[in-house]
Symmetry: C2
Subunit: 455 residues, 2 copies
């Protein structure tokens, strides 16, 4: 295995700066380094210690309140009482595995499958999105007899050996094994699609070229996998429908389409429960072969899943059994059921649509005062704010880092997205309100004002 | 990827028998098949639905109490109040990830590392044993620059693509890729070690042969990985010390030793907190390069970990970062801390030693009346009871299946172990008492009496 390198810097704490931290923080960081070792990263120039969360807020050890615009696991809000109660009740009752019968897993599975197109008929449970993508790829390879996998330029799908190998955001495209090919992301803001009738046609053509190249090298095509909102590539959501042409290309080549919904799923995009469904139309429904889900699924409880068209699992089920000790255990299912109920009962998808629209309008308004903001894109509460050098239009990573750390000082938590580290990733819990959006935009204004004066 | 086949039948429900089940059970099994699909398995000729657990007992939907001699995840006992309270408290407070600072993960890590040899300095968190083994192997390959892995004949280490590929218990040794080699398990009961001074020397010689064969095929050796009690191979625990010689062989070849403690860890073997430590002596301490832990770690909460000598992670940390969204999250750590505290405060390791000894004596006593029992082996509460055809001494899989289903009717839950499906796997929660052992032996006596009359 070639040594992958980390692509680009990011908003991580540099352990060389440990002595500059407040004494209490420095001591905790030292103990952490001593025990967890050097492969772990902390956010921010000054790492922050949280002790409590509620709704869209996290509270540090001194009791300061932070507005959370980053954490997409706690989609129902931090420490949601209904989810916490479901977990507490189940932990005190039973938590066994899927080799015994259990009503709850069947009921939840029926409920979950009802949110998907009819053709998606089965669900298999894992504990993490990494495991869900790993299982999807394992099934895809078994199904097709192929090994070739196509991903996007800065894709991230997880950390198992197999999935890290198809995640160029971890080690760069230079580190990809020969059976993995990459295509540029469908970046509507920066792609020259001249010669093609649409971004979708252009994207399908990119994928076809890689399918052909795999064939030319004697590697049988197995799967195309994409995050339906292309989060790590920079958040590419529009024009809706652009995923339809690539679907046809993959089917024609005998491969399977894996929709990674770990990031866009569970209503985050507002306009649909699942990111792939945004690309459906009445004339042309978009149905993947396999779907992976995770992160917000348990609002903090480790649970994830792989869903599929029944025909895709036939050969695998004939040749193999599947078991994941904790996957689909009673406690994880209790959490997941509560999350799905909360998303419905509290109208979180509609809220994501409403507040997302409101927030994008406010951010575009802000952009009229900051030429550093080149683009505001996304859907629902998955938004990228692209930062550039005004004079040249070049990516402005320095400004991004300054703004992220400035927002942390202003008690607003945010992350970054994209190959060139110049997008703010706006991805709050789905209970985010218009007032929260106002607070965020106001603090972003302040951080931008400070950063653009000093940088 | 070649089509692996399932090795040997096991005590799984056959879906062809669905119409023979009681109506309520049949309906639930049908709904389960419809949603979870065909790759899942259920235990027993008549699958059982549990709704509640407490200590060593599980309760079915009709309120019947079962003695649990199978479940090793709930090592502290089902729904342990202290663990459930810790989970409930944390779920209602905070559950975030490792990119923020948190006291609890550092405190737990210090506590956990204190149970290991001093040379094991770091711990990295995952959600499942599969992920822990996958990460260990990823680190090992990165460290050594090699790809060659050596496992035992019927090893099981997990279900990610990479780890399924080194788990011949899933698909048979025929399905192993070229970079995976196998050695016979160190089976003290059935191995002809003539020509060697000890089982350990014989085992080291087997591993050396595979290291040499890898080299002859131009494949660089990366790692040897073994479950320290060889659970899926049939439970091989003695003579203690037999792992020492293989350690030296691996070190000399420049590979790393990965101790998979997912099954024997956390005090189950009674004589040691960790399975590898059973093979230590004052003159020759046994210290692996990497250790993987899981299953009982959270008593039902998904949490697992990879521990290591600090030098093993250096190259990986230089070239890669590591992040697992749920791995080491606050809720999982709260559960793990409660489990470690319960193991200590309730003296579960000492109980495993005491009750395990008592139980093995009782099982050996039973064996004097049943020539079908060829061997009783193991340590603490990890015991194999080997069943044979008395006349020939051949493995008796039919009897094993009859006894497992007979015990289920007698409301005792038990599993199977070993390549030839002829071992009962005795692996109850660690709160198992001498009275529980008496009940188990009495019911086993009954099931054997029935089965040996009718079979």
């Amino acid at each position: 295995m070639a040594s992958p390198r980390q692509v680009g810097p990011s908003n991580y704490f540099n352990p060389a700066s440990i002595d500059a931290l407040p004494e209490g923080t420095a001591n905790l960081v030292r103990r952490r380094l001593a025990t967890l070792g050097p492969a772990y990263r902390l956010f921010y120039d000054e790492p922050v210690e949280f002790v409590r969360g509620s709704g869209v807020h996290l509270y540090d050890v001194a009791g300061n309140e932070y507005l959370d615009v980053y954490n997409n696991v706690a989609s129902c809000g931090h420490a949601h009482p209904r989810v916490a109660a479901a977990i507490a009740q189940q932990a005190a009752t039973l938590s066994t595995h899927t080799r015994y019968l259990n009503q709850a897993i069947v009921r939840y599975s029926e409920d979950l499958l009802a949110t998907m197109p009819d053709a998606i008929g089965h669900v298999m449970y894992t504990c993490t999105g990494s495991e869900a993508c790993d299982l999807a790829l394992r099934i895809a390879k078994h199904r097709t007899g192929g090994t070739g996998v196509i991903v996007t330029r800065n894709a991230y799908h997880g950390v198992t050996t197999e999935i890290a190998a198809i995640s160029p955001s971890l080690g760069g495209v230079e580190s990809l094994p020969p059976w993995v090919r990459w295509v540029p992301a469908p970046d509507s803001a920066h792609t020259d699609i001249s010669g093609c009738s649409s971004l979708g046609e252009w994207f399908a053509d990119q994928v076809q070229q890689q399918i052909d190249d795999l064939a030319a090298h004697g590697i049988r095509f197995a799967a195309f996998i994409a995050d339906s909102i292309f989060a790590s590539d920079g958040v590419f959501s529009d024009p809706v429908g652009f995923l339809a042409p690539v679907r046809a290309v993959i089917e024609a080549a005998g491969g399977v389409y894996i929709a990674d919904e770990v990031q866009p799923g569970f209503g985050r995009t507002g306009s649909a429960m699942w990111g792939f469904d945004r690309h459906s139309s009445a004339e042309q429904p978009f149905v993947p072969d396999l779907v992976t889900i995770g992160k917000p699924m348990g609002n903090g409880m480790p649970i994830a899943a792989t869903l599929m068209r029944p025909e895709v699992i036939e050969e695998f089920a004939r040749d193999m059994r599947y078991f994941n000790t904790y996957g689909g255990n009673a406690m994880a299912i209790a959490a997941a059921q509560a999350v799905l109920d909360v998303i419905r009962d509290e109208g979180l998808q509609a809220n994501a649509a409403d507040v997302g629209d409101y927030l994008r309008r406010a951010l575009r308004e802000l952009a009229t005062r900051y030429p550093h903001i080149a683009d505001v894109r996304g859907d629902g509460l998955f938004i990228a704010v692209e930062l550039v050098i005004p004079e040249s239009g070049e990516p402005n990573e320095a400004l991004m880092l300054s703004v992220v750390n400035g927002l942390r000082r202003r008690r607003v938590l945010i992350g970054t997205a994209g190959l060139l580290n110049n997008n703010l990733k706006v991805r709050p819990p789905l209970v985010f309100s218009r007032a929260d959006a106002d607070r965020f935009v106001s603090e972003l204004d302040g951080a931008l004002a400070e950063s653009t004066v000093t940088s």
